[in-house]
Symmetry: C2
Subunit: 387 residues, 2 copies
């Protein structure tokens, strides 16, 4: 194993009616909040009213700031920082999916950073302090509710970049599965893909000969998430599946799946981010296109983990490792399609002629993330498997 | 699932030479430490010197307080509280196994409690504040390095009691697998049993019809720990097995295996604590006696989880659930014996004539922990299966 530091100070408040604890949790963080959210659905669902009435009851002022995009953008984050400074807020209340929480992290760290907040994303500077964040999660998928990661898109350069520090871990994340019952089928599928993808990266790419702890953790969660995906495809209102998925998605990317895992890399995410930055496809939708293609590429390079995944998670056992791996990739791709997530550029309306410029974009991120094996040629060859 | 709050703010510093980070971590907690440890082995192993030289380098004063017993006792905890108050320490540096860290938690909370610290254990009072704890773990087993639980024995009443609050979670726990290479075979076995036992309680007793997340988590860790036990039986110096076991034991009882799990109880621990309180057998050794007996009892009452464990963890599949369960219990008992942990009162030198008074002791704890089904008769019937 690698040496590691695991520090995850986010308090999770989970379960039925957890939303009703928002006011009490907020009161521990300050007297004035920036209330950050996305679209009008927060209001139409009644959640906005449930949250603000609690804030009022606790005597907490709030400054409304809606309009976070589903791939959150730099310009909106900058506007929010300016507003938070002007209003001198004590904390950020982020109500929504991963995008809202990710942007909240940029605001939280940007609030105390003197330069351009993008410096924190492109690696030019490191955050040193951050406003506290209280998150009310409505779309489980990214795991951002229990980690220190944030991803933002710079609309000018179309680069999607990230940083990670426990300074921006939400102090408290409220996970109320009932708030997720109304997620439409397509976004449910994208969320399921996203949560799975976080487990895949380390599992498929690590270099340890014996890793029963990490692999067992991933296999258990992956099997759970696949069961949830099937149940939610059948019945999007299945509460048991919603709650199980919500907690599983959090555990899939809270740092445990890769803590100490030697050699793990994140190629699928590096290759997907260009798709969602350039075409505004949902992150999960981009992932279900890239993952099977990357698996094919990795298998051709001798990857042994794909066969293990096919056997231990999908229950495939032909007696031949390569055949297991190939069947596993085909089964996973078919399953992505079945639950309603695209599996090709064609499905997502991405023109194949764009591959060179998508590769140029991805190359920048592969550089930032230290994925040296992913040269422009390699990236193009993976994208060619996405058609 | 049940509603739950998960909050685990312990920072884990893990891996080769992690001990060398003790000074840096200590310097964030204050200028004066109570240095708590157990036996002279801390000195003979050189660890004492490695820790104290770092404290000196950082300009941190320390007050030595050795002598923590392997089932830590109330009187020693009280002496430590008095010393900590007199010396006005800023934090506790607990170097040792679970006993040392457990006692450190009693000291940390007792430091700020005006009455008898035992009140916190027997439920008469709740802790409201605690000194920070920096733990350097040398025996992985109990999980106390990453949770808010503490167990202490009152030598006058021979009651072993506990409390749990995130206030006493260690701020930082240093897990350096090399420090565990010298644990003797018997204590290695007891540690493996203890770590497994934490996974068993929830898994065997929960009432959920569909719990793939929790069960997957437990099965993955249990298979890992069993592999570690086998490797360490063969070669106690196997570093890979030591490091994997160290992290697995932490993850086995850091709150995740039961967070949200409905209906989970802890009968084996309730029945074991009397053995280690009354006969000073190691906690893990007591558990390997009680667990198979409890499993037999539970199976006779219709428990379905034992068969699942036999299939999914031990790979037993006879085609009949009851036969699987029976074979699973027999296999587990045989395995406990094989790795060197006792499986009967006879093995541990506990006289069978004592069963009535052991049952009286256990009944008190079952009462404190709300295990209503465990009447005196039931407890006696389980102990009768331990002979």
């Amino acid at each position: 194993m690698n040496t590691f530091t695991f520090y995850n100070p986010t308090k999770i408040v989970f379960g039925r009616d957890a939303v009703e604890k928002t006011g009490a949790e907020a009161s521990a963080l300050g007297k004035k909040a920036l209330l950050l959210y996305g679209r009008s659905s927060l209001k139409s669902s009644g959640l906005y009213g449930r949250i603000t009435s609690q804030l009022k009851k606790q005597g907490i002022q709030y400054v409304d700031f809606p309009g976070v995009k589903s791939n959150p953008v730099l310009s909106h984050c900058k506007e929010a920082i300016a507003l938070a400074k002007k209003e001198k807020v004590d904390f950020i209340l982020a109500a929504g999916g991963g995008s809202v929480i990710d942007e909240a992290k940029g605001i939280a760290a940007g609030y105390y950073y003197k330069g351009d907040v993008w410096d924190l994303y492109n690696g030019k500077a490191k955050p040193t302090k951050a406003l506290p964040i209280l998150a009310v999660l409505t779309i489980p998928a990214t795991g951002t509710e229990m980690n220190g990661g944030t991803v933002l898109t710079n609309e000018q350069t179309l680069l999607k970049a990230s940083f990670m520090t426990s300074l921006v871990n939400p102090r408290v994340s409220i996970l109320d599965p009932a708030t997720t019952l109304s997620i439409p089928p397509d976004y449910t599928a994208y969320s399921v893909v996203d949560a799975l993808s976080h487990l895949f990266e380390g599992y498929f790419t690590h270099s340890m000969k014996w890793a029963p702890l990490h692999e067992g953790y991933v296999e258990g969660l992956a099997k759970t998430i696949i069961q949830c995906g099937d149940k939610l495809k059948k019945d999007p209102k299945n509460y048991e599946a919603r709650e199980t998925f919500m907690w599983a998605a959090t555990l899939a990317w809270n740092g445990l799946s890769t803590a100490g895992l030697a050699g793990a890399t994140v190629p699928s995410h590096a290759l997907e981010h260009s798709l969602s930055a350039m075409y505004d496809v949902a992150h999960g939708a981009g992932l279900s296109i890239v993952i099977p293609a990357w698996m094919k590429y990795a298998l051709s390079k001798g990857n042994k983990q794909i066969a293990k995944f096919a056997r231990n998670v999908l229950g495939i056992n032909t007696g031949d490792a390569k055949a297991d791996a190939e069947a596993g990739i085909a089964a996973l791709k078919k399953w992505f399609k079945k639950i309603g997530s695209p599996v090709s550029f064609k499905d997502a309306g991405i023109p194949k002629e764009d591959i060179p410029k998508i590769a140029d974009n991805a190359l920048v991120l592969c550089g930032l993330w230290g994925l040296k094996d992913y040269t422009r040629d390699v990236i193009i060859s993976v994208y060619n498997l996405c058609l």
